[in-house]
């Protein structure tokens, strides 16, 4: 019997006689565990939250309005700043959508480079979760160990694209082909630098090592289990109704992974399995992300052997005019389903760009799941949903 039922009886008895009014606790925009600027106006009765109203919009940069005055190349630089922890993975669905509109297809090698970089960013995003979630539960050491290992992943990404967080390496019709537009730099191609495969394999061994360290430090830790098992249970149908996607959905028993279902990148030539658990509580969401790091490591090891040689980009006119049409393209971003609805009226700029960001939908379930929880549980549940405020506020 979870602690909630037990507390409930004694609390009901007390509050019925005392009729104490609820205190409105403002878990404000500046709070250590709100993953950015999210404000929760919580009605608190003692430690128990009776009702929560999230207030968002502090990070609203208006991407959809900005994208109406920018060309497609400029939007790709803008778009990897939405969910800044998984930069490259935000660009992929947008670029694929534009390629569908223009009916062109990236060459084989470019698609494999996109796959490799998306998986590297998935590992980096999940490692950020692995470092911040135990910190919210009070354990400060995993943060340092995990971020030390994550440096190797960022080193790889910077070696290929030049940027650690905002690679800006995707072009319509492929991947950034060469250094610049001029004659002299035409020859210097932006292909994978020498030694990339060797250092990736070394990095993957380090990833296995850090996963085992996390297992000893966090997964096996009975106190972490005490704080997360059966806390914030989200059943499968509620997750579907609220539009939760990614690890949050897969932890509630719905094994739905866009990489298998929507073949937007050559994921069918690499075999990996979809991790899903049925518990739906914080501990399962945490375990799904930990196993997904291991899956991504498996994918990367296979991708390095399969990647073919070849050109990096298909011939694309310098001034890009996209034909009239509307397309919805989505991809498996580390946090869930990330999609773009592009309405193009044949100009250099899209007429309308709807951004389906994962954390926005993941956060809609907060008022439902936080009802009747204790304040420390609120921190544990919010942490397990792993959202980023830039993604929520767009």
């Amino acid at each position: 019997m979870t602690s909630r039922e037990m507390m409930h009886r004694s609390e009901v008895a007390v509050s019925v006689e005392l009729e104490t009014p609820d205190m409105t606790l403002n878990i404000g925009p500046q709070h250590p565990s709100t993953h950015g600027v999210l404000r929760l106006v919580a009605k608190v009765d003692g430690e128990r939250i009776t009702e929560v109203e999230p207030v968002i919009g502090y990070m609203h940069r208006g991407y959809e309005k900005l994208s109406e005055v920018r060309t497609y190349a400029q939007i790709t630089t803008l778009v990897n700043r939405i969910d800044w922890v998984s930069g490259f993975a935000n660009e992929v669905p947008f670029i694929l959508g534009v390629e569908k509109l223009m009916d062109i297809e990236a060459p084989e090698r470019a698609q494999w480079i996109r796959l490799i970089l998306s998986e590297l960013f998935r590992i980096s995003s999940h490692l950020v979760f692995m470092s911040s979630y135990p910190l919210e539960l009070g354990a400060t050491t995993p943060l340092m160990h995990v971020l030390r290992e994550r440096e190797y992943i960022l080193e790889l990404i910077e070696g290929v694209t030049g940027g650690r967080f905002h690679p800006n390496f995707n072009r319509v019709g492929g991947v950034k082909p060469n250094y610049g537009g001029g004659s002299q730099t035409k020859k210097q191609s932006m292909d994978l630098p020498a030694g990339f495969f060797k250092s990736t394999l070394e990095a993957m061994d380090r990833m296995d090592q850090i996963c085992d360290d996390i297992d000893t430090l966090v997964t096996g830790n009975e106190l972490i289990k005490a704080r997360t098992v059966d806390v914030g249970i989200i059943p499968g149908d509620k997750a579907i109704e609220y539009g939760l996607s990614g690890p949050n959905l897969r932890a509630s028993g719905v094994a739905y992974d866009l990489r298998k279902v929507e073949n937007y990148l050559p994921y069918d030539q690499v075999e990996f399995d979809v991790i899903s658990r049925t518990g739906g509580d914080c501990y399962d969401r945490y375990l799904v992300r930990l196993d997904e790091i291991r899956e991504s490591v498996k994918i990367l090891r296979q991708a390095i052997d399969i990647i073919p040689a070849g050109p990096l980009q298909v011939k694309v006119p310098r001034i890009l005019k996209v034909p009239v049409g509307q397309v919805y393209s989505r991809a498996e971003n580390p946090k869930g389903e990330f999609g773009y609805y592009i309405v193009s009226e044949g100009g250099k700029m899209p007429y309308r760009l709807k951004i389906r960001s994962t954390s926005f939908s993941n956060l809609t379930i907060l008022p439902w799941v936080l009802k009747d929880q204790l304040i420390p549980d609120l921190v544990a549940i919010m942490g397990s949903l792993d959202f980023v405020l830039g993604d929520v506020d767009r």
């Binding site: 602690s3 430690e47 009070g138 354990a139 050491t141 340092m144 830790n221 106190l223 972490i224 420390p376």
Partner: protein, 336 residues
Amino acid sequence: MNFWLELAIKTVLMLVVVLTASLVTIYTELKAGSHMQARIGPYYAGGRWGWAQPLADGAKFLQKEDLAPAKADRTVYGYAPWVVMMSTLAIFAVIPMGPDLVATKLDLGAYFLLAISSLSVLGILMAGWSSANKYSLIGGLRAAAQLIAYELPLVLAVVAVVVQAGTMSLNGIVEAQQATLFTVGGVEIALPFLLTGQIIGFGIFMIAAVAELSRIPFDMPIAESELTMGYLTEYSGIRFTMFFLGEYASMVGLSAIATTLYLGGYAVPFLPESMENFAGPGIFFTKVAVLVFIIIWIRFTWPRLREDQLQWMAWRWLIPLALFNIALVSVFKVVF
């Protein structure tokens, strides 16, 4: 020497010992803790190993402006740190570091210790309530519930030791641990209480001590990720230093009590009588250092519990175990 002069010397001596001990603890926590997290820790302050970092922190805090929130209850807000500091330093008045290296040889030493250490709850509640900040209020309430809940196991564990030692005075307890249990081939063997039947008591005492200090895994009152420093949120400047030093001083204090009660205080089995006054403090402080290191080690590995689990653990688990321990020890006492 008349009484007052002696009293002045003793207090100054005790203050010096306690403050250096807590500064050394702060330094070990910074340095050892950071190495546990694969980073370097203090490096530049005072020469190569950053040994002067605690002093630098102290100086920084002293020159910081001592703010008080507008709606705070000024007097209660002001005196809270004094109450906590006083109750922490008073512990050392009774703890023996050598046969006669002790401030006062109280016959009711253990009783005095428990009475004083429960005063800090008052100080923390005063701080929590008076800082007129919702988070401090919640922190203060959590601290009150936690400290009271863990006062009981602490007391019951000490009762078990008093039963076994037969006396309340701390010097007496240490001598009781020196009494020869049995002789093997002409060599008398005397074991500290920890090894003679007080293992459960030691476990309960340490868990209750960590909870009294409100350190991880029981640091709900100062849960940074939930209550942004709990009852300490509004404190700055010299008042915060007092709380800060108070926390580390009580860490050394509680480990000192644990050493006296369970690890044989200043005595080591084969130490001749005459040497005790010289080697006493050295032995005593190494044992305290071991216990303090374990508390620091726990802080950098474990997460934090929810406070309803904490209460569950205290009332449903620690207190029955402590009562059972007393019964066990008294039975042994009668039989042997």
